[in-house]
Symmetry: none
């Protein structure tokens, strides 16, 4: 599993990890019963502290997405896909709503928003392709 951490986007690191694991499950990149990287591995890979990864995993465990097996590691739970698929758009929707709310309250038009979305989407798509190349 690949995990991108963006320090300074306002979202705590542990929450970024939680969201990305959930997206990965929702998109079928992580399957039921599959092991996820050990806390130490993911910490190394993302250059984040072990405890931070550990907290993310613990939260996911409480949410029923992960199951810890003593001395073995953590695996995706059976109910994880259901939970994560439900959350897939919701996670984005909530953040989006907050932005749109501010826009609407401050006299930005829906047309301006649509333009911003398409512009930014286009540019981010380009960036992504550049990164991959």
């Amino acid at each position: 599993m690949i995990c991108h951490i963006d320090a300074g986007n306002g979202i705590p690191i542990y929450e970024q990890i939680e969201r990305q694991v959930k997206f990965a499950v929702a998109n079928g990149w992580l399957l039921v019963g599959e092991r996820i990287p050990s806390v130490r591995d993911l910490a190394t890979q993302t250059a984040v502290n072990v405890n931070t990864v550990s907290r993310a995993y613990r939260d996911l465990q409480q949410q029923g997405v992960l199951i810890a097996i003593r001395g073995t590691g953590m695996v995706i739970s059976g109910q994880a896909p259901q939970i994560c698929k439900q959350d897939r758009l919701e996670m984005i929707r909530e953040r989006l709503r907050s932005v749109l709310q501010e826009a609407l309250q401050n006299q930005i038009s829906v047309g301006e928003i649509r333009t911003l979305v398409d512009d930014e989407w286009h540019q981010l798509s380009q960036d992504q392709k550049t990164d991959e190349a």
Copy 2:
């Protein structure tokens, strides 16, 4: 000036205040030379701590949007409209980009995003009308 505070959307309260003042200037709701509410009044009105409002005003002063006039309070500076109009879409754009980036990385399609935007925009518009009524 009406100020909406949304605790728990991740943006610090003082920054929410700053943004709303800027939007108000950009939209012509606050004019050059006009007094803005006193720290104490805005704090009462928004149920926010005085220090928090104070910090927002201080930041705006540093950015050149507000000017303190002894014995009068703080007024909108002459350069404020220019600054704020430049920032009007940029403030939204930055937040939007962060959300879209997460969406793109996690296999959300542009179609899903457009649907979310239109759905949420529609619903927020309804809510706003309800609030006004």
Copy 3:
């Protein structure tokens, strides 16, 4: 609020704190809306690390027992008494069941258990009085 930590009884420190807060609420020692000690104060008082107390408080917040007020502290939630009273005997019952199960499986008689309970209860009561004196 007084909090006794017993390192080495098998229960993690953060969980001991959570349980004692819940008991305190259930017994009416902590009232709805009342502030609980700050993480730093309780940490000092119990000679436990700040982060450990912090984790306990965070867990209690997730369970709906505590509410954090930014920059002010944490208070007992309105639903806390209900939650905690439900848990009051359950917390003891679960631990007790585990012990009794072992006893039953290993041919300890209910009479022996009753004797043990009364003996130990008597002795602990004495100890407690001695502590208070």
Copy 4:
């Protein structure tokens, strides 16, 4: 010998095994000189890792309960009955005391405890009969 493992009751698995061997000796279910199941057999039967069983046996050997005989396996030592009978009630007593201590500190009455004990004992007895049937 039948061995019940309850993961998640807080007691390490290796210790649960040790305790059950001791109880079995104290109750005369295992006699002096009798072979106990091989590490591999017990591990299979209880669905526990071989190393975990191995550690339990090693501990029991250090305590003088088991003796390794080359080419034969491990057998109950001559002093085992004495050791284990001494410990029979003590092992339960210690766990019980910890629970009662928490109860007493938190204003649970001895009456509530007695009721809990009788309730749980009754229910566990029923469960045990059901299991046997």
